[in-house]
Symmetry: C2
Subunit: 299 residues, 2 copies
DNA sequence: GCTAACAAATCTAAAAAACTGATATATAAT
DNA sequence: ATTATATATCAGTTTTTTAGATTTGTTAGC
């Protein structure tokens, strides 16, 4: 079904780009007659003319011009494939899988992905958002090469990335805000806690204070929006509820103790023995980006 | 720079699709040993392995899987190019240029384009929006294969497509609406008329009543929005101001005579002698679409 | 554990293709 | 008219691709 070879398409583009058979021949390190041969082959197998001789120059026909454009595109993708293979041959992974705990600020991740893909356009990134034990599983099942998570499963090595500060909050209208005193453990027990669903199968719990009622939501953003509507109280990363706190749709709860909690997020490579250069570079960019982002600095 | 031939990529996909060298050989009408040869060639020139022998089966390596995906894509575009060439060889234009007077309802044009491109995905459409003499010029300068316009320049043949009804309108707040009587020619003279700029070089005039002041705008939509803001009166195609009339942001002017005008739009082929099958088909679809659209029927 | 069946790799000779250099043809410039 | 330039054609050579036989290694049945 494909009768025209890449080399024939390339001959077409070379003739156009080096205006003429002679130039193309030189550019391709071949003889002029083989240029002629290639075009004749192309023309006869497609049953069209791509060049007409005007005077003593070869000029593209209308369909030739279109084929030229498409040929350029075809060749470019073919070249890119070979380039990617070459990168792989040098040890660069063609794809890296990154698992990220939803606690991690996504804007920062997007920034790093942006940076990485401009630096290495041929390495694809697959991003997996995980929660708690889901992050562990991604590591253990080798579903990710690079993981950002709070727990470091036994046998893995992790580097601290950044510390996430959690704040206990509820909507201003929530009863907990109208006790007229600091809130204690028993008060919390009486109200509904919003919990983010564990993406793994082991079902760990983010909120360990046993609240009578719970509302488990699958994503932190859903959960936050539930909290603003007064559906319950919850601990959220301060960074993720900055807007809600300034707008006043969420308000910090005055707990007797433990109003703030801290979780350390770590950068963990799935395979400690051999980390591919792409995964390693991605990790570097992540660390750099965090170092630069002053809003993440612990004062 | 391209060392791997299309046929080698195709061998790769054939082996995957027909699970095995033997199947691929049969599918490609070649011998098993030439499959083996092609893959070895590919692997050595890319310096990667795309298959590993697991047991007695050839299985894709990770990079092989990625290359397979990309190869499928590459081959598909190569095949499409040849298909397009074949269509051209049979007389189908690779691109048709359509010039459309802005009076023509654009939703209808988009509908027809949608229909045509699903029917003939390999023929590209270039749409040129023209006004008055611009439409003529598109024909005369052979800038379009197919033209929808009001005037049929001498020497061309046109088929009536549809009749556009113009309505004289102004914003409800406009002084012309507060005369307390029917509007006559002299009344109009005293006010600013909104005119759509001729896209051609001959500069014909859409509004022929010589109004003292004129505001010439380049596009009918700009003009309509100017009219709703009370900047002047104008004649617009009823179809184009349906929304404005129902919302009341524009109101029909009670003229003594000539409150409505009619313009016939015609379908004109640039080259009467030989119309390509794509252009002809596009014309058919246009005519059909107009016949079907009941809101365009003259009662 | 042995054997038959199977799948891919290797080898060699043959066939197909692509390539070159020389030459022919046609056009533009002088 | 003559020369320089650009593509086409031809004939012989080189390179690449192919088929068929054989080999190597694996699985499944007995």
């Amino acid at each position: 079904m494909t009768n025209v070879t890449l080399e024939q398409w390339q001959t077409l583009t070379a003739i156009v780009d080096n205006d003429g058979y002679a130039g193309a021949a030189e550019a391709m390190n071949k003889s002029q007659s083989s240029m002629s041969y290639a075009i004749q082959k192309l023309e006869s197998s497609l049953n069209i003319r791509v060049f007409t001789i005007e005077g003593r120059r070869a000029v593209l026909t209308p369909i030739g011009r279109i084929m030229y454009q498409r040929a350029e595109n075809l060749l470019q993708t073919a070249r890119q494939m070979e380039k990617q293979a070459a990168q792989y041959a040098e040890g660069w992974e063609p794809v890296i899988k990154v698992a990220m705990d939803t606690l991690f600020p996504e804007w920062l991740m997007l920034e790093v992905i942006e940076h990485f893909t401009t630096e290495h356009p041929l390495t694809r990134i697959e991003l997996l958002e995980t929660v708690l034990s889901g992050t562990d599983e991604a590591l253990l099942r080798k579903e990710a090469d690079l993981v950002i998570g709070g727990r470091i499963p036994p046998g893995f090595l992790g580097n601290p990335l950044l510390t996430i500060t959690f704040q206990a909050v509820a909507a201003p209208s929530h009863p907990l805000h109208h006790l007229g005193r600091d809130i204690n453990y028993e008060d919390l027990q009486l109200h509904r806690q919003l919990v983010v669903k564990d993406s793994g199968s082991r079902n760990m719990d983010a909120g360990w204070l046993g609240a009578q009622q719970r509302l488990t939501l699958s994503h932190i953003h859903t959960s936050i929006s539930a909290a603003t509507k007064g559906l319950g109280y919850a601990w959220y990363p301060k960074l993720k509820i900055h807007n809600e706190l300034t707008l006043g749709t969420l308000k910090a709860l005055p707990l007797e103790m433990g109003s703030e909690r801290h979780v350390q997020l770590n950068l963990i490579y799935a395979d400690g023995d051999y980390v591919g250069p792409a995964a390693r570079r991605f990790g570097e960019l992540l660390t750099d980006a965090i170092a630069k982002a002053e809003c993440l600095q612990v004062p």
